[in-house]
Amino acid sequence: MGARPIIQVENLSHTYMKGTPLEHVALKGANLYVEEGECIAIIGHTGSGKSTLIQHFNGLMRPESGKVIIDGVDLSKKKVDVKTLRQKVGLVFQNPEDQIFEKIIGDDIAYGPFKLGLPLKEVRERVKWAMSVVGLDFEQMKDRQTFALSGGQKRKVALAGILALKPKILVLDEPTAGLDPKSRNELLEKIKRLNREEKLTVIFVSHNMEEVAMLADRIYVMAGGKDVLCGTPKEIFTDKEKLQLHHIGTPETVQVLYRLTDLGYKVSVDAFSISEATEEIIKVLHGTKEDLEDVQRV
């Protein structure tokens, strides 16, 4: 702690199609702050305003009311250098198809760095690096056509295209939706490493509580266009009342542990990974064994 906030959102509101009969309030006084180098998860139900919120981070949307300050730049001001902002904040959308427009994979990833006016050698290096980060083989994949890719592969290409810009803040909307288990685990490991080792600030929207528990330093829970809860994974997932109140899901492991607690087993629900949860249950089973031995001794 003590680092300066790199993102600060205060009392942010947004209404779609304002003044029409189809008016729809998406954000209603949302607050959020992110410190440099943090990894933040934003969770919440469909329609809670998550996607609208993150589109403010790179200036795709400008604050209708309230404040958004990104790395010292106030986006509610009239004149904002959007180009510099978008270089600083890389946003990967939920649907990777939206972001891919070149016919060849290598060209698509190179598009951003090329537009930055970087020398060709540097562009090539960045494309190579970005492809290795997302787990696409450079030699094998760079000349492939983008339209014949599977959903998961398109996602990797879209992420590589953003990483090649070397942003300071990476914003991901459902980064692993549509990925197979191995690709998902690999990508999560890579995001984690970018965050921990390269000090990249990461903000991600996710419905997958396994990855939220694994990656996030802090979690923001959105509901009805507002931030309703904020805390570490431990604080959020062990607070049963709040989980129920806000209708928040938990990792599958925690779900099992909660069911066991309900049945009277003394397990701690603060065990998110498979191995931690397994240990926790083994401990309890050992406990019943010791009880048995006590009985025999008596």
Binding site: S51, A177, D180, K182, E252, Y265, I274, K289
Partner: protein, 283 residues
């Protein structure tokens, strides 16, 4: 029983540039019986989405044939009846939403097949009710979030009363509650006799099915009930897949307590085993 869908030696390839073709499906054959609940799993790029697009003639094979209720998907005269028999829900709802108001979108397919107005209204009501989107019926769909759009797309397919629905990673954009709701809908429809085919990366979701088909490099490498499939932990790992979380936990416990069953694939079974096991130990 006469299969609802039958694939015979199906092969398919995409042209990636002038010279090269990538072969995606390689000589695939299988049948699906009416009322089955089948999950298709495989890693990204294994060919499972391409396969699912063959099931109602969105794609047709380069070699081999696909029959839906005995009608060949290659025969364009059959297209309409095939699409009415087998509906598809895709991964990205944006690609399948066409109208500007939710209820009109759900009614779109019905208008095309000239369903009478009263019947149409009834079917739209029912379908929106099943996916719990009734309160959004007058909203424009493009302002809904991903999960809500997906439920609208499912309602649109449901309203057509197909015999079979293919879910092509249809839950991958939904939160855990949204996914549970859709899974319940799938189970409910299957209990009513509808054939369900789901393409998924969620192993706990595949565990819900009666049969799992595993695809690798355009070929079927396993085809068996979930309990049988998830016995093959190492093979699945080699195929870049995994077993459900509870199976992984059961395996870990089994190493400490050899009597603890490793053949658990659903949460309920796992809880039961923990209870049974601790009781046995205490007695």
């Amino acid at each position: 029983m006469e299969p609802i869908i039958r694939l015979e030696n199906v092969s398919f390839s995409y042209k990636i540039n002038e010279k090269t073709k990538v072969s995606v499906l390689k000589n695939i054959s299988f049948s699906i019986i009416p009322g089955e609940y089948v999950a298709i799993i495989g890693h990204n790029g294994s060919g499972k989405s391409t396969l699912s697009k063959h099931l109602n003639g969105i794609l047709t094979p380069d070699n081999g044939d696909v029959w839906v209720h005995g009608n060949n998907t290659k025969d364009t005269n059959n297209k309409r009846s095939i699409r009415q028999t087998v509906g598809t829900v895709f991964q990205h709802p944006d690609n399948q939403i066409v109208a500007t108001i939710v209820e009109e979108d759900v009614a779109f397919g019905l208008e095309n097949i000239e369903v009478p107005r009263e019947e149409m209204k009834k079917r739209v009501d029912e379908a929106l009710n099943v996916v719990k989107m009734s309160q959004f019926r007058h909203r424009p769909p493009h302002h809904l979030s991903g999960g809500q759009k997906q439920r609208v797309a499912i309602a649109g397919v449901l309203a057509m009363h197909p015999d079979c629905i293919v879910f092509d990673e249809a839950t991958s954009m939904l939160d855990s509650f949204g996914r549970k709701e859709v899974l319940q809908v799938m189970r409910k429809m299957n209990n009513m006799g509808m054939t369900i085919i789901t393409v998924t990366h969620h192993m706990s979701e595949a565990a819900e099915a009666d049969r799992i088909i595993v695809i690798e490099d355009g070929q079927i490498v396993m085809d068996a009930p979930p309990r049988e499939i998830f016995k093959h932990k190492q093979e699945l790992k080699n195929l870049q897949l995994e077993v459900p979380s509870v199976s992984q936990m059961a395996e870990g416990i089994h190493q400490q307590f050899p009597d603890f069953s490793t053949e658990l694939i659903q949460e309920d079974e796992f809880i039961d085993e923990v209870m049974k096991f601790s009781k046995v130990e205490v007695i």
